[in-house]
Amino acid sequence: MPHNLHEHSVSPLIEVRFHGRGGQGVVIASEVLAKAAFRMGYEVSAFPFFGVERRGAPVTAYTRIDSRPIRVKTNIYWPDYVVVLDSSLLEGVDVLEGLKVKGSVLVNWPDGKKLKDLPSKFRRFVLDATSIAASHGIGSQTAPIVNTAILGGFARICDAIELEPVLETIREAAPVKKQENVAAAREAYERTIEVTP
Amino acid sequence: MTKSYEDLPLTPIADTPSTMNLTGLWRVVRPLVDKSKCKKCTTCWKFCPDAAITLVDGFPVIDLNYCKGCGICAHECPSKCIIMVKEGEA
């Protein structure tokens, strides 16, 4: 009997865990995803791992998406999706912890560089969100803000989420450079690719 | 007298002048004013901590219901027209 059987009986449709570093907009990404799903008519909840971490420290945030009102208030232990905003976290953080079998992981990963060490029992996707964000002038050239680009990629890998509501939500939520953020997400959607074994 | 809780306001709001307290009962010495010596300088009125002195035609009238007998008026009077006497005497 799988150890997570009990959790399955009450868990919502989709549970997503985001990994990033303080200052990269990880928490905002989880909220924007929730708002985009809400725009599509889903019930949602989004929350950070409630820490006191400062800039640069590993940060996690979560999104729950369901067709019914979400009552459960616990942490997410068995995500369906894991989204990694900063590939340097692959070293040192167990980003795949609890990921469901046949779950998906999306990693911000440089184009052309071989993704290694992620077991093939998960669906693996890569996207060079850093280059895309930089090319659209989001954040600085040395530290591009990748959270909007990565959400474009998420719309690609998750069947339940469409690109347009994600773009609309980004347009609404981005405090500056709305068009650039939308364009980055759109480009990211196109450039997300699945890693084949 | 203790009022029934039903007759009390929501919270104790003090709305009755403190003239309900006859603080003159505290007094052991009493001021006596010799009007003939008074120069109407108003010093006694000015320095009375209890606002127990009123001026009538410029002369001090001390309200013995409230005067606590501190003696400041007598002590400060430049023409020495107020003296303090023991209650029950004079």
Binding site: H6, E7, S9, V10, E31, A34, K35, F38, E43, V44, S45, A46, F47, P48, F50, V52, I70, R71, V72, K73, T74, N75, Y77 | T2, K3, S4, Y5, L8, P9, L10, T11, P12, I13, A14, D15, P17
Partner: protein, 395 residues
């Protein structure tokens, strides 16, 4: 309009929709985004209010007390150490019969330092004369603030209310919240118009010295006001439902309790999770239910007594602990039930302190444990759940 927002924003919107006129607040994790949002509402002119950036929580409450005495509707928000620093003036607010509404983002007390949820801070204020509402989700936070003003400002109540929002689990979790139209709220909640207030030129002393021959009568009136509050909570909620279409179960929300043998009694956000657990357990055939203490003050004595007479076992989950006794909810539930003709078996579970996650599995394990205890008897009346080093495994 339904919007996705955190519990803290739900608090800020609740205060804004209630047209709070004076807001005095001091920042503390995890309450800060409430007061930041309100400061923003005030500076943008969206909310016509005075925002006082006080230098401590004690001053926040003292300033609210003064402003409320002068006839302004006031609001503040705090958490843990901030709330406990206010303790003295919390009693002042209720003794002065001021219907101040405050959000407390419920957080554990130090040491050890913890910014995470438990209800120790709120429970420690249970004797201050404040109404205490434990909320299960962000919608309830917003709605209860609006309702609280109406309940508390009614002439026979005139007591302050604390809206308790679990740290991070509600304060920083975004979920859909219906934000009602201002005009609708305005029709539901009229402006604050106290019978007595400070008026320039009118000689009145507020908070006077009272001799032993009258002090007790004033306290008796406060007690009656709290009783009246229990009635008002139910009446105002009924009215709220007619206008806004939502209700929360009055003082005690019952979920699947009608034919339940084992009932879990708890409060706050964990109750929302517990509803999912009850559904899952019922799907397996277990006759379980949940009773959520929504108002810890006024305490739902009658409701609990009615419930207790119908069930076999009651598990009380406290997210706090009263040292030297048990969980406060447990002792109070037990006291309420004591004089019932038929009493269920009861057990207290202490869980989730300092932000420890109370998982669905822990909740179902508690209910299973209670069902067994109801049959075989209680060994350990107060059980600490999920403590490393104790023999029992709960996760």
């Amino acid at each position: 309009m339904r919007m996705v927002m955190t519990g803290n924003y739900a608090s800020a919107y609740g205060a804004k929709l209630s047209r709070a006129e004076v807001i005095a607040a001091y920042p503390i994790t995890p309450q800060t985004s409430i007061v930041e949002k309100l400061a923003e509402f005030v500076s943008s002119g969206e909310l016509k209010a005075q925002y006082i950036p006080v230098e401590s929580e004690h001053s926040a409450m003292a300033a609210c007390i003064a402003a409320e005495t002068a006839g302004a509707r006031t609001y503040t928000a705090t958490s843990s150490h901030g709330l406990t620093l206010m303790h003295e003036v919390l009693m002042w607010a209720s003794g002065a019969r001021l219907p101040i509404v405050m959000t407390n983002v419920s957080r554990a007390m130090a040491p050890p330092w913890s910014v995470w949820v438990d209800n120790m801070d709120s429970i420690a204020q249970r004797d201050t004369g404040w109404l205490q509402f434990f909320c299960q989700n962000n919608q309830e936070v917003l709605d209860t603030i609006i309702m609280a003003y109406k309940i508390c400002e009614s002439r026979r109540v005139m007591l302050p209310a604390m809206i308790i929002e679990d740290a991070f689990i509600l304060s920083h979790t975004s979920e859909p919240v219906d934000v009602p139209d201002q005009e609708v709220v305005d029709r539901f909640l009229p402006p604050y118009a106290p019978e007595l207030k400070i008026e320039v030129g009118k000689a009145m002393g507020f908070g006077s010295l009272v001799k032993p021959d009258q002090y007790m009568e004033f306290r008796y009136k406060d007690m009656l006001a709290m009783k009246e509050a229990a009635e008002r909570v139910k009446a105002v909620e009924k009215e709220f439902k007619q206008v806004f279409g939502r209700e929360y179960g009055g003082l005690l929300e019952k979920y699947m309790c009608d034919d339940a043998e084992t009932v879990l009694i708890t409060a706050g956000s964990v109750a929302a999770t517990a509803k999912d657990v009850v559904d899952a357990m019922r799907a397996r055939g277990a006759r379980v239910g949940l009773a959520r203490i929504r108002a810890f003050r006024p305490f739902p004595h009658e409701e609990l007594r009615a419930l207790a007479s119908k069930v076999v076992g009651i598990a009380v989950l406290d997210r706090s602990y009263t040292f030297g006794a048990a969980g406060a909810m447990f002792t109070e539930v037990k006291a309420s039930v004591y004089s019932c003709h038929k009493r269920p078996v009861m057990k207290n579970y202490i869980a989730g302190l300092g932000g420890r996650d109370i998982t669905t599995k822990i909740i179902s394990n508690i209910m299973d444990d209670m069902a067994v205890a109801a049959k075989r008897g209680v060994e350990d009346e107060v059980e600490w759940v999920d403590v490393a080093g104790l023999p029992r495994r709960w996760r």
